[in-house]
């Protein structure tokens, strides 16, 4: 998340916001319009859409009758909320104790630098998103990353490179196919 001002706006299209907005009333119906429901509502929204869009936060603010800033302030306090839509490839880097000791932060930095985004963010082309997570339960393999739900143990910078190589080849094939179909 770009510090301070919410800037997922460029990533989320109006169409997506509209699709989200259509589904919100059903979620709201489960909760009364009370302030104490703020967190549960945000959790349900994140569960459903995997992130909190600016439009969704505005709608929640309206529903509970508090300012959007307050919703945003509360949401950013907790690590569990994301403000960017997930990328095609979701990269989760473990920051649990064991992984931390084994240099998990270096792995995270590797991903961040490679992609030019910070944890919690998504690349502008929506290919990749990075997240930090707490212990994923296989500390013996530390440091661990979970990429598209596959656990990768003993992470190293060279493995980061290898992953991207593989993804980029996949992408070329994919785009080649698209071109082939279009022509």
């Amino acid at each position: 998340m770009e510090a301070g001002k919410h800037n997922a706006n460029q990533l989320v299209t109006e169409e997506e916001e509209r699709a989200i907005a259509e589904k919100l009333p059903a979620i709201f119906r489960e909760f009364s319009q009370e302030r104490t429901n703020l967190l549960p509502i945000l959790q349900r929204i994140q569960e459903t859409f995997k992130f909190l869009s600016p439009g969704a936060m505005r709608a929640v603010a309206n529903y509970i009758g508090i300012s959007t800033s307050e919703v945003y302030g509360v949401a950013t306090f907790y690590n569990q909320f994301r403000f960017h839509p997930p990328g095609r490839h979701e990269i989760k880097v473990c920051m649990g104790t064991a992984c931390h000791v084994k240099g998990g932060d270096i792995i995270l930095e590797n991903f961040e630098r490679k992609l030019g985004i910070k944890e919690g963010e998504t690349t502008p082309d929506r290919e990749y998103s990075i997240e930090r997570v707490a212990c994923v339960g296989c500390c013996a393999l530390a440091p661990v990353a979970v990429v598209d739900d596959k656990v990768i143990g003993y992470m190293q910078p060279s493995k980061v490179e290898g992953l991207f190589l593989q993804f980029e080849i996949q992408r070329k094939i994919r785009e080649g196919q698209i071109k082939a179909e279009a022509s």
């Binding site: 510090a3 800033s69 306090f77």
Partner: protein, 221 residues
Amino acid sequence: MVKITVDDRELEVEEHLTVLEACIQNGIFIPNLCFLKTRHHPHASCRLCFVSIEGYDRPVTSCTERVRDGMVVKTNTPEVRALQKSAFKLLMSLHPCHPKICPTEKPCLLMRIAKHIGVGLNPKPLEHIDRGLPDLVDFGPLYYVPNRCVLCAKCIHTCRTINQMPLLTFAKRGIMTMVAYFDGEQNTSICANCNACVDVCPVAALLPKSAFTSSVESRKA
């Protein structure tokens, strides 16, 4: 009215006041950053306003303490200064001072506090912590300078007092805490003629865009 003694001076002050207010009204400076008269519950986050009060076993923050008849207050004991210095150093480890580009009127409040408690503006022996925050954040009608912000929350409280629906908020937590701006549907144009947050900020961490662009332009000219 009650009588209190501050640094051997006898004062007669209104009884609902905090020690901090009573002292400031009588021209006795106590370092403070987060105190705001309009706030019912003092934020008490800057930890700079410590005083010693007779009968207390340790210094207390003067913004949270109400005056009582016969109270004997000292604003400059070694214990008080030690606490103030630590708080100030911690603050300066997140606040690199660049007086030439900082638009505050000099000496700024931090400079006055530093002088008052007898320390420099650097964080030494603490290190400066780079939180990796941007130099300038676009807040719509305002600019925000995260590395100057001392997180006193005066802007947020002031905005809330005026608007009920504050446009400013603290985002994130711990060392990454910063002020954020989020316009909702209800309140997009309120800021244009307000600037209350800009006025209340002690360190010029909030700047009206208009003033900013004109000063940039005049520098170019």
